[in-house]
Symmetry: C2
Subunit: 337 residues, 2 copies
């Protein structure tokens, strides 16, 4: 399934919902499961559905395989019925994609780790400093922890951060952890992946390099926002991760193109490494790091106000962000935290 | 107040509670407030108390000044009554300290940042590498993000991590954020501090230096555990932070002694820096970084199995951790996450 998170505005507040893309439609999975349960004559379909197919993504992911299976069955059930299928009290189950306000598929991950797993990228950035790739890079997949409270979603704006003069994108694939675990072997690690999404690790390079000179971080140079989206594609939907093409466009012009298969450290290797003596949790986000050539730093080109950055990795889709100046009043990153 | 978190085992599971130290006793603040409300003839004292004085620390901190004021009033109310004061249904309000199983005052912070704010410490560690202090260190308080899911508390054990041969402690003071905010000025920043606790940023130096050679992190070298405790002292209880003496002992022998006043970057400066274009949240933990001389790395001495590390900063108290080998089966860090 292609899972999405979207907002539904109501007279008693705005609610987040989990949906699945179905052609030009979005199926509200919790409400679809309510429909299925009601048709089985369950006395409390809403209560049971909220436990089995939670309406918010983190809790949905925490439900694991059992929740995914129930959601799939409910989606199949409603999509083979009338397109105007409704909940037992007339609730909306199916939306037209064009009418839906999407947010990041997982707007509130419990943590965010970002790796440097592509050799071409670390080779290029090391070379810019006149240095070889550190030999330690080949010993284990290194990472830092990003800010899990400043996630933005598809079609959201990014307010110009920190008066930077070197605002950059980073073209990455992210995996979302689906199961709690510790000391996970590389061989078993794939079972711990719920699915994949596109990630834009926005970076203020001038700020980043200043703090990294102190051998820490990065922190402020990256923490203002990370974009995830447009959907979370479940693991079963991608037969060959290595074959995925990764593309970045700025205002429609292609700046970067790479292949995920050029990665040196795999997601299972990252999971095995992180989980050594340390528990990972459903919803944890692992970013792959930038694909070779997948950022302006490698091209000596940077973003400017009003630029539209599109990161495309099919079959996940296009993650689009418009950069605005602070006075244009983009929405605050992390508003769903 | 000196706030603590503690566990109460019951036939329907183990519950976390927020308490306040009162001499040799611990007052359950939520239950004290229930008592006060019941004596005001409130019809639903438990329901109101759970909202106004939540029984778990993160929610308690999120309640802000209003929750603190209600908790103080309730504590004063019950401690001026009979020592055997009970809740309306005979619930326990006051425990003897010796009978209580304490955990970290905030066992599940939403995030953990750790700074390098003491000049003596960065001077010493830079010198070990044969380098001067990076000039960037004087421009802004640098930090990395630790693992907020592997918190251990007072008197807990630390399982020997990652087959390290250089296990170290770090003697730090931490402040706990009490209010949500963004773009906070240094002058206003103190209002955003709920209180202080002692922090031991355990470090596997061999692992840490390997990953830092790749200019990221630290991550695995620190993420296995961070100790916080024994209590969270509210801001009003410490008149002069600079006068605090920080002491580390291993098996009773003093290894480190420093004064918090030697810090170069203050907590308000850290808060102003982090909150630039970025929201901070109640419960966020900011570690000061190691006081000069406050770790084994500076002394060329490391921990070994069965060592007992005590970090003391009065009036907060002593944060004690016993290091055990994995086969001795210490409890998992982050078990409350």
């Amino acid at each position: 399934m292609k899972l999405v998170s979207f907002r539904v505005a109501t007279p008693i507040g705005t609610f987040m919902r989990v949906g699945a893309i179905h052609g030009q439609q979005v199926v509200d999975l919790n409400m679809a499961y309510v429909r299925w349960l009601a048709d089985q004559q369950e006395a409390q379909p809403h209560r049971l559905a909220n436990a089995q197919v939670p309406p918010t993504m983190l809790e949905f992911i925490e439900g694991g395989d059992s929740t995914l299976a129930a959601a799939r069955r409910a989606k199949d059930y409603v999509t083979t019925r009338s397109p105007s299928v409704k909940g037992p009290f007339g609730e909306t189950i199916v939306y037209a994609t064009a009418d839906v306000q999407f947010v990041a598929p997982l707007p509130n991950p419990p943590s965010l780790r970002d790796f440097i797993a592509f050799e071409d990228h670390i080779a290029a950035t090391s070379k810019k400093r006149g240095q070889p790739i550190p030999p330690e890079w080949y010993k284990a997949p290194v990472y830092y922890k990003g800010n899990h409270r400043t996630i933005i979603g598809p079609d959201e704006t990014l307010s110009w951060p920190l008066e930077t003069t070197k605002l950059d994108y980073e073209l990455e694939l992210a995996c979302i952890i689906g199961r709690k675990g510790k000391d996970i072997s590389e061989r078993q690690a794939e079972d711990y992946i719920a699915g994949y999404t596109v990630m834009n690790d926005f970076s203020a390079r001038d700020v980043q390099f200043q703090e990294m000179a102190c051998r820490l971080g990065p922190a402020k140079g990256k923490d203002f926002a990370t974009a995830l989206g447009p959907c979370l594609v479940t693991r079963d939907e991608i037969a060959d991760l290595g074959a995925l093409t990764m593309i970045a466009r700025v205002n429609g012009e292609e700046w970067s193109r790479g292949r995920f298969g050029t990665i040196h450290w795999s997601f299972p290797q990252m999971i095995a490494h992180v989980s050594r003596g340390e528990t990972i949790y459903p919803g944890d986000v692992f970013g792959s790091g930038t694909v070779g050539g997948g950022c302006g730093l490698e091209l000596d080109r940077y973003l400017k106000p009003d630029d539209v950055v599109e990161l495309e990795i099919q079959p996940i889709g296009v993650l689009k962000t418009r950069v605005v100046t602070a006075t244009q009043g983009g929405e605050d990153a992390g508003q769903y935290g």
